[in-house]
Amino acid sequence: MTRFSLAVHGGAGTINKATLTPELEVRYHEGLRTALRAGHAILKDGGSAMDAVTAAVCALEDEPLFNAGRGAVFTSEGVQEMDAAVMDGKTREAGAVGGIFGPRNPILAARAVMESTEHVMLIGPNALQVARNADLPFEEAPYFFTQSRWDALQSTLAMRATGQVDDDPARRHG
């Protein structure tokens, strides 16, 4: 049997026992398993590590529970800016995008930078143009909106407005 392995993460943070209901706990486990299944399906057929990690992260970006893609948080100005990167250990090639909004899966935009340009990182309109040239799907704002992230933004802004100290280290986690 060929050896391979895959690990995923859905971010780090203070897991609030009060809000982590049994139902939500099941959804988190299921979200992680969906990502593992996406990557495992590729690896077990002899596919590449790059294809496996890309597929796994797409699955996590599609799950609003996690802070990326569809579940991205909001900036202090109430918009979403997404960052992503891939790196191939075989060639040390890498691709990254910063501060973008639009591609359904920012990780695919990062991979397009790696595979269709000579650069490692692109930001701004040209990063989006590379994603369009790669025929990646784009989505409008409602697709990326989640009430819980919007509520988190409002409570953070309210806290700042009152001068309250934001002492939850997890709030600084991506």
Partner: protein, 133 residues
């Protein structure tokens, strides 16, 4: 932030990380995710790494590249190198968070120095494991 690292049947490594950043972050703020060597890194000779946490500290301590350097130059195992970076370099310098990493033999480590991290792993035996605390 979400991420994945893999070692395929040919022994090649890869890493991928994606994020919405931090709630209420300053417009234009970029964390460690897209910074190669900080939140994302892969090199077949050492490891593939995907991080999540206080991005500014992961960047300043070049967290992912530091793990690879400890393996390459000090001959440390992935476990020793990753644990030191997360618990010492990051943990003692306001760098709360964690990371997942894999080496070319397929060994996976998932150290974190904060309350909890959503993570999972699987290998050729289809042992699917997920952890959220």
């Amino acid at each position: 932030t979400v991420g994945a690292v893999a070692c395929d049947a040919q022994g090649n490594l890869a890493a991928a990380t994606s994020t919405g950043g931090m709630t209420a972050k300053a417009p234009g703020r970029i964390g460690d995710t897209p910074i190669i060597g900080a939140g994302t890194y892969a090199d077949n000779k050492t490891c593939a790494v995907s991080g999540t946490g206080h991005g500014e500290v992961f960047i300043r301590f070049t967290a992912a590249a530091e793990i690879a350097a400890r393996m390459r130059h000090a001959g440390e195992s992935l476990e020793t190198a990753a644990t030191h970076v997360v618990m010492e370099d990051l943990g003692k310098n306001d760098g709360s968070g964690g990371l997942i990493a894999v080496d070319a033999q397929g060994h996976i480590v998932m150290p974190f120095n904060c309350e909890g991290m959503y993570r999972g792993m699987v290998n050729e035996n289809a042992d699917f494991e997920t952890f959220i605390y």
